[in-house]
């Protein structure tokens, strides 16, 4: 047990780059450390991108981590590991949304319709707190705006990293973020 604990302690000191390399060589302790380090963030992102569906979020993260485990042996570190993991999760979320196709959404249409139709602050406050109010507001955002805002403001990725995750350009990310901030500010108006 002591030896195992030492192995775990050692893993926690290692950089993502080293853990990724060791995972690629079949080191499960290293991969466990990576999952411990990034799993909660990946799950948080997946659940918000899948409209709060925790089971769908769990499936998306599991699928993404499975692909990571299988392909880490060929991961060359061209991007940061965190960025790569978010890209895998984003792809799984997109696939899940395509499978379910809840309703056709047009970014522009939603952007132009300010929503004050959500719960009143009192109701939200009673049921939850500011974070939950944000969750409610996020669900109302178009997918790309939501993804850009989550990755920038919550996960603190750079514009270039977000562009890589969402497979678009930093300029598009900048535009989506601008609209997301405006829409969220509108939806969170009662919390000023």
């Amino acid at each position: 047990m002591e030896a195992l604990a030492r192995v775990g302690e050692m893993a926690s000191l290692r950089s993502d780059e080293v853990l990724a390399r060791r995972s690629g060589l079949g080191d499960r302790v290293a991969f466990a450390e990576l999952v411990g380090r990034h799993g909660a963030s990946l799950y948080r992102y997946a659940v918000r991108m899948l409209d709060g569906d925790h089971h769908a979020g769990e499936d998306a993260v599991q699928e993404a981590l499975t692909k990571a485990w299988i392909h880490l042996g060929t991961f060359r570190g061209d991007s940061a590991l965190k960025t790569w993991l978010f890209r895998l999760v984003a792809n799984e979320c997109l696939s899940a949304r395509r499978r379910h196709r809840p309703r056709p959404v047009d970014d522009q249409t939603l952007t132009e319709v300010p929503t004050n139709q959500g719960s009143a602050p009192e109701e939200v406050t009673v049921a939850t707190d500011l974070r939950r109010a944000l969750d409610v507001a996020l669900v109302e955002l178009p997918w790309r705006q939501r993804a850009s805002w989550m990755l920038r403001e919550v996960e603190q990725l750079s514009y270039a990293e977000i562009a890589e995750v969402l497979q678009t350009s930093p300029a598009v990310v900048r535009g989506q973020l601008h609209r997301a901030r405006a829409n969220l500010a509108d939806r969170m108006e009662q919390w000023r």
Binding site: D27, R44, E153
Partner: protein
């Protein structure tokens, strides 16, 4: 009484401009979400991990022989065990392991299609100042012993001469932790 969104505390501070208040509310909400760990993830993280690592990586079967007869070991298993063994050697870190193989003999004497291991290339990062030749010898010996355990009598074909140890990188600190690279 207003709410200080940057700290989450209630204060009687003067009212800032509307735009910055919007930004402050969102910044505060984002911060709270960032600090939040979903309970469901805490519940399922171990289960997700255990499911994930059961996934099999595509890997070539290698010919091996035990006392009871021939069998196959996947290349991934060989790499995994080699990495774990060499990990016990101080002042070095495995960067890459390449298993070299040849096709089985056409007469079928070496199993049903599994490749025959002929050598192993181990790329290492070493701590700056480490005496390289003894380290390389140690790694070669450890790898050779592990190959023999994994592949049985077939391992005799994986001669020590074919066990390459390539020192690919030098680090200032402990290479097992991932210190800054010194030079290549």
């Amino acid at each position: 009484m207003t709410t200080d969104w940057s700290s989450g505390a209630n204060t009687a501070a003067s009212t800032p401009a509307p735009v910055s208040r919007d930004a402050a509310v969102l910044r505060s909400a984002a911060g709270r979400l960032r600090e939040h760990v979903d309970e469901r993830w805490v519940e399922v993280a171990d289960l997700v991990f255990s499911r994930v690592v059961t996934a099999t990586r595509p890997s070539r079967p290698l010919h091996a022989v035990a006392s009871g007869g021939p069998f196959h070991v996947t290349e991934q298993v060989v790499v995994s065990y080699l990495r774990a063994s060499i990990d016990q050697v101080a002042d070095c870190e495995v960067l890459r392991i390449i298993v070299q193989t040849r096709s089985p003999d056409p007469d079928g004497s070496q199993g049903s299609g599994a490749e025959v291991c002929t050598g192993v290339l181990v790329e290492l990062a070493v701590r700056y100042g480490t005496v390289l030749i003894p380290l390389a010898d140690t790694v070669r010996r450890v790898a050779s012993e592990r190959i023999a355990q994994l592949l049985g009598s077939v391992a005799s074909e994986v001669s020590v001469a074919a066990m390459h140890v390539h020192l690919a990188d030098v680090t200032v600190g402990d290479p097992k932790v991932g210190a800054d690279r010194h030079e290549r």
